[in-house]
Symmetry: C2
Subunit: 237 residues, 2 copies
């Protein structure tokens, strides 16, 4: 009995993985909109209905993709972080790796933000605590901050990972719109903004800035707390 269940789960996992791989493959080739669920099913050798058995909608394929992106990003970042000491170098490395990892999906990635910005979407990065990717991603930035010797005030240090995650979203948004060859502009943007952010963080850490910093951080905390749940409003669908 136990055995049987185990095998079945395994088989299910395999099919699910197969469908996801196939989908991502076609997404890379043709983009998201141009890829039909029927095409995915056919190429994966399963029935249309079966893809819906594993992924409730086409959008859920993106969610799975999201998780995988993070896994790759994390795997690439950890060794890089071991070699860097300063906040600036660590942040720059992690941000650049994010783009490296996403590179093969540039044209497909536009859809990411499209659905991510939709409050009612399961992909919305702000709500849906059910979605752990966001927290994992913020945790990565916590690692970036923790590993430095920089003397950052506690209050700022606490919110910094979240703020850097937001910053990352901004950079990705830029990257999606960046048509320059090899995404040169995005890499340049990262270098410049990291430099600037580093300076700003040090400026904000100055005791002279304490009142302003406190006010700004209170605001950030408010925003964080306000956002996570909008599930209540619209129960339907």
């Amino acid at each position: 009995m136990r055995k049987k269940k185990a095998t079945k789960t395994l088989k299910g996992d395999q099919t699910k993985a197969l469908i996801l791989e196939t989908a991502l493959e076609i997404f890379r080739e043709r983009g998201y909109e141009e890829t039909t669920m029927r095409a995915i099913a056919e190429k994966a050798g399963v029935a249309l209905g079966n893809t819906y058995y594993y992924f409730r909608s086409k959008e859920y394929l993106i969610q799975a993709f999201y998780q995988r992106l993070h896994d790759e990003h994390l795997a690439a970042s950890l060794p890089a972080l071991e070699k860097k000491e300063t906040l600036k170098a660590r942040l720059q490395a992690v941000m650049r790796l994010r783009i490296d990892v996403m590179k093969p999906y540039h044209q497909f990635a536009g859809v990411l933000f499209k659905t991510a910005a939709h409050p009612q979407s399961p992909l919305n990065p702000f709500s849906d605590e059910s979605d752990p990717v966001r927290d994992q991603s913020i945790a990565l930035f916590a690692k970036v901050v923790e590993g430095t010797k920089a003397r950052i005030p506690k209050d700022l240090q606490a919110e910094l990972p979240y703020l850097l995650w937001l910053y990352q979203m901004g950079v990705v948004l830029f990257w999606i719109h960046d048509p320059s060859p090899n995404h040169r502009r995005t890499y340049r943007l990262i270098d410049h903004t990291v430099d600037l952010l580093d300076k700003l963080i040090h400026l904000a850490s100055n005791p002279f800035m304490r009142p302003l910093r406190k006010q700004a951080l209170r605001l950030v905390a408010e925003i964080r707390e306000a956002l996570p749940d909008d599930e209540d409003e619209e129960q339907k669908k």
Copy 2:
């Protein structure tokens, strides 16, 4: 001959307006996704094909809505600006009016951001110079800045309207996710961020901050210049 053409155009405009009104009405009631093109046509008393004659797709209805939002916002802002002198008061008034104007469309507005964030969408506020709404919207913030006596350095003054427009987008994004009754949280967010922004602008205007300010503004200029055209990459569709 001339007469005829004029009359016909007029009639066309009326029909177009009728379709848009009807669409917005149903959008307000049922939301965007739940509103079918067939329902719009039926309620407006026109044939399905006719709605496509005036609006190339369902998304283009949103674009028209966008323009109308701005018109209303502008009309509400101008008189308000005449009564305010300080940058802080002017900015606060304009931001609050933005939410006032959008209020009836709260649940529908989620789609705005969804499509707006998509690089390939005609609604993307960054590309598509064909879309004049963005420039008009930035121009409104230019008015907000110009009308004050605050001694803001020229370089910052030049970019400030754009930056405030970005800030507005952030606030709207927050509002879309804000389920609090009467959007109280969004109004509070506006009050707090306006206060903070006011302080930051004055801080950035300090001669002591000149190098950092210059660096930040160079960055902003770079971003502005990089974004506006991604039409080239994807010609298809």
